[in-house]
Symmetry: C2
Subunit: 686 residues, 2 copies
């Protein structure tokens, strides 16, 4: 379907997020040709990080090859003379298009453009611009590469060389990596001039005509991925615009065949679902060794780092629709095992402690992630050092990928991940010699408002699951890959017994007489209040709810699904436990993270709470359409799109609405059809 935004004066930051295109390696925000860094134009990159000075490391925004500005009869086309404007993104084919009518005193000019990424060759960004006038006019066009890009902590590169015909720039980042952008233009006219000034490398056209079309082919280069291939070959063998366009349509048609969910429902969620899955499609890196950051390719926020979002919320989508991507994504974690082992050692443990915010495996998370609004001082947070469930999230996901792809290569290589993660928990735990059990102390669960808690149920159960999967993985290996099994058994011969001991001994907080699992030791003793009440206690709307002085800290109010998340992920618990905990924790949950609603949605489905389920589904699926989520933390831009919420919407449909648990669809939904790589599932309301 198509997302359309009308009027020239809309919120550029918001539209930039929403109308994004991408091919997993690169993204291009939904901005206009004449926009610059003030309008947050960005040709974004996946896992191509740079650090400038003491600021945090973030992904590089490339030079923008689609810059263009126009004069008609000497007058610039600008917002002052816009008569009509529309722009849209077609989620069926990943094409962004715009149409703007400018009324100059004596001539009306219509600027139409479209752009899309090649999904076959990730280096290629393709665009076409057509300018048509109601009568012939003198058109002056300046177009080319804008090097003066939007950044949070930039600039990230200096320009080493510029060449013309085709326009091309070659740059070096602060970290010494290289990038290049070459813009090949097809145009019936020759440029009258070309120059490099004000950070822009431009061709200048001057034509008296009624209509002119520019086809633009940008070839992108990153030294980390493309190594010695400078793209010349690609440039020399460029096909025509229509060829690429057709190729693109075909690719998307095939893609949607395996991924489309058709829904008929009261709130017309087709667009929300299309857009959610669209995001997951354009963020899927097509190269092994890369993964998806928490805000996809929508910008530099969240440091372009990879969180548990990928494993717990996105991979399930790819497992059903694009197994290769699922495998690539988990390979990213296998590839970064060494970094995880290093992090464990830095904190005094053994095994693998994965990065909370992974930049190629290195933890980009700071010890001070929050700024106190009252003092402006950084607040010590514990996401990096104590949110240890990350390793289990990865282990659980890895085994799922193996199970669903049956790719023994994943297990052959991933077995070490399983063992090292399990071993990490063993070394991270303490033995309670009174209660005769291992405990995981001083951790953060998914709910980040309660720091430094003991025996977070999610963490303990997931660590246990990790140990179970490590042992299970070994057993599986012994059957499917006996040689590797022998090798691994030998390497880990001292560790395996420890993992077994941990598996038997780790404390698993059992449901109490009311079926309730305590989120962490002492949670039930906290103040019984609600997010709504806490809001009234805020002295500043932007203050942080967690930490030692936050309004939520001493209360039961939680940022997001925590025990409920556990009940979603591990299918160990009886229905009455699901019910008790859903009902207990819901009133305390702020849903201050985009990961929260989908967990509640899935559990609501299992509990036949159809009205709730539909409500949480809508919240999840519409996160980015409605522009939900916080855009600023203090003065820091943290906006962008939420692929984990998109994955959550997918999970709600496939694990929720289509689950055996739900006897029939919610009243608000007439029918759902889910296409996957292998099968098609259809459900109609009885």
């Amino acid at each position: 379907m198509t997302i359309t935004e009308n009027g020239y004066g809309g919120d550029r930051l918001c539209r930039g997020d929403k109308l994004i295109i991408g091919n997993g390696i690169y993204g291009y925000r939904g901005t206009l040709e004449e926009n610059g860094k003030n309008e947050a134009v960005a040709l974004t990159t996946c896992s191509f990080y740079d650090r400038r000075g003491d600021s945090w490391r973030e992904p590089v925004n490339m030079p923008n090859p689609l810059y263009l500005r126009v004069k008609a009869n000497g007058t610039a086309l600008s917002k002052e003379n816009v008569a009509y404007h529309t722009e849209s993104l077609n989620t069926d084919n990943g094409v962004f298009s715009r149409c703007t009518v400018f009324k100059i005193k004596d001539v009306t000019v219509t600027l139409k453009s479209e752009r899309f990424f090649s999904q076959i060759d990730y280096r290629l960004l393709i665009s076409k611009v057509t300018l048509s006038c109601d009568k012939s006019a003198e058109m002056e066009i300046a177009d080319g590469i804008d090097l003066d890009v939007w950044d949070i902590n930039g600039p990230h590169f200096t320009t080493d060389s510029v060449s013309y015909n085709p326009l091309s720039v070659y740059c070096t980042t602060n970290e010494g990596k290289h990038l290049a952008v070459t813009l090949y233009e097809k145009c019936p006219y020759k440029p009258v001039n070309a120059d490099f000034s004000n950070g822009k490398v431009l061709n200048f056209y001057k034509v008296f005509t009624k209509e002119i079309t520019l086809e633009r082919f940008a070839v992108l280069y990153r030294s980390d991925l493309d190594k010695c291939d400078d793209g010349k070959m690609l440039l020399n063998n460029l096909k025509g615009y229509d060829d690429y366009y057709k190729e693109n349509l075909k690719w998307w048609r095939e893609k949607w065949k395996c991924a489309k969910i058709e829904i008929e429902d009261e709130r017309n969620s087709q667009l929300a679902l299309d857009y959610s899955l669209y995001q997951l499609i354009i963020y899927a890196p097509k190269v092994s060794g890369l993964s998806i950051s928490a805000r996809g390719l929508s910008g530099q926020t969240y440091k372009g780092a990879v969180f548990w979002d990928t494993e717990m919320f996105m991979i399930p989508f790819y497992l059903k629709t694009d197994k290769n991507t699922a495998k690539n994504l988990i390979r990213y974690r296998i590839d970064t095992l060494d970094k995880a082992k290093q992090k464990a050692r830095e904190y005094g443990y053994e095994g693998a402690f994965y990065a909370w915010e992974s930049q190629d495996g290195v933890d980009a998370c700071s010890d001070f992630n929050v700024t106190d609004v009252f003092t402006g001082r950084p607040v010590r947070t514990y996401f990096k050092d104590k949110q240890i469930h990350i390793s289990a999230d990865i282990a659980v996901s890895l085994y799922q990928v193996y199970k669903e792809t049956k790719d023994i290569g994943i297990l052959n290589d991933g077995i070490e991940v399983l063992l090292e993660c399990a071993y990490f928990y063993y070394t991270r735990s303490y033995y309670n010699h009174i209660k005769k059990r291992y405990e995981l102390l001083d951790v953060l669960g998914p709910d980040e408002y309660h720091e430094r808690v003991d025996n977070n149920a999610y963490t303990n159960y997931m660590a246990h699951e990790t140990a179970c999967l490590a042992i299970k993985g070994l057993k599986e290996l012994s059957k499917k890959s006996p040689e590797r099994y022998r090798e691994i058994s030998e390497i880990y011969k001292n560790i395996i017994p420890k993992i077994k001991k941990f598996k038997e001994g780790i404390y698993l907080p059992k449901p109490n007489d009311n079926g309730l699992i305590e989120q962490f030791s002492g949670y039930f003793k906290l103040e019984d209040t609600t997010p709504c009440e806490l809001k009234k206690r805020l002295k500043d709307p932007k203050e942080y709810w967690g930490g030692s002085t936050g309004v939520a800290t001493a209360t039961r109010v939680i940022k997001q699904a925590d025990v409920v998340m556990l009940l979603c992920v591990l299918k160990r618990f009886p229905l009455e436990v699901l019910k008790a905990n859903y009902e207990f924790y819901l009133p305390y949950t702020e849903h201050g993270s985009s990961l929260s609603y989908s967990a509640y949605a899935r559990l609501a489905c299992k509990l036949q709470l159809k009205k709730d389920a539909y409500e949480w589904f809508i919240k999840t699926a519409r996160t980015d359409l409605d522009g939900g989520g916080k855009k600023y933390a203090g003065s820091l831009y943290i906006g962008g799109t939420h692929p984990a919420a998109c994955g959550g919407a997918y999970l709600t449909v496939t694990e929720g609405f289509l689950s055996d648990g739900l006897n029939s669809l919610p009243d608000e939904i007439n029918s759902i059809t889910v296409n996957t790589q292998t099968k098609k599932y259809k459900l109609k309301r009885n």
Copy 2:
């Protein structure tokens, strides 16, 4: 010596603290007869607590029996007509006296008074007031009991009955305890009237005379201590003022014989030392089952609760000068063992976890001890639940009292304290199965700025010492008290092996290659800065330095001696370790607690750092003379005197200047003579 304050307009709050008198059960602040609650008059009590509504529990201030106001020829004697004023406290005999000259238009009136507590019968407060005029005048005197007393969280009592001749009030506290004050006056005249109005029960005298003297004998009653004895007998057998005065002088003379320290030094510290020891003398409760609160009897601050101050800083003084008081004080802990066991159980442990702020053994400490200055919100602090070294402080002190008094009764009864405290640490610890040791996690050491740390050196070593003393105590018992030994061995037969295991297994952070003991795991990794630098970072002078957002939290800056305190208390460490840690920690220490300087002073003595030692000695000994320490936390009055600093001054002399470690006195000191109950020590500078 005498502390004298001149001028009528001084800081009443400060003088009230400084010129205090007391007898261990009661205290009377250094205020004037005509003062009321606005000038912070208070007849304070030891361990006589009351809670009103939801406020915290605090000691009751009794009705003030020494109220008096005067008119001469119809004009009130008041600050407007003061010509001369002096008031003083004589530390040699515990007598407060004043002299004020009022110039009324036609007459000059001199008001002289003195007051002291009986040290023989704690119920007796005695005062004499003389009014003399330069010529006969009509003197109107109203004097009696002021029931409208100064309180932080009051009022704490209601008046049940009032009687006259003698004036007497009988009151009931919010908690249902009773108190009474009877004022017997000796005066050559009869009152012309008596009434109860404006919260005062007063006699009215009207006399035309040149001089009049009132002798006043206040008999105090507390239902908790005095039970059925209402004081009538005492009242009926009252001796004359001079008899009491002589008795008092004699008592003090005897007292000082065992306690006096004579010093000749550059900064004239005789008064500071006299005053320090004076405080310890007047705060010594003469009844078993009571102890000394952190601010002595100077007011209701710190909830009148007993902290580790008593065991670690005060008991050593009594051991040398007044063994009975030392025994009484440690009996207080023996008597409250049940409460400590209960607290341990409340937190899920076994053994004895003593109250951080003990009110008769019950923990008066709140979970929110600090108010955030930026938001006005209570901040979750962890003094109560995690400052577990308190149990070890008590155990170590108990054994010392036994050792120095050789009172087998202390060990017979105290052995359970030793065992239960040691057992507490065993159950509070976790076993680190990787490093094969017990660890004490998530604690607060003496330095309160770093909350929730692991393996605080002070705590771990002291817990180890507790286990050692429990085992040693058993052995001692087997020799000295075999029957009790058999009994205890039977009761604790399952626990003793655990204590032995703990003793062997507890992690004791060893000095590193530079001789440094890390204050807690990870301390060395904190930011290397100084208290001075941190002061510059404050946004509000009153903001709390600790907690999760305090300026000190992520730095090495500490509130008070911590490792240095350890090195003072346990004499296990070689000189080079003392030296390394003294030098390392000193620049990080704020001395934000009155307990800090004396630890540095003692260590400086051991290290022959004589200049330092003298400096820290002066700081400790002069704490209350100079009015050091914070008077307010936000709007809350937290002033009062600092008996732990007084004890610290004593320790500095006896364990520092007189120790074998110091080859000779600091240059600034010529000679010191220490009188104790048994011996006299004299040291002159070579």
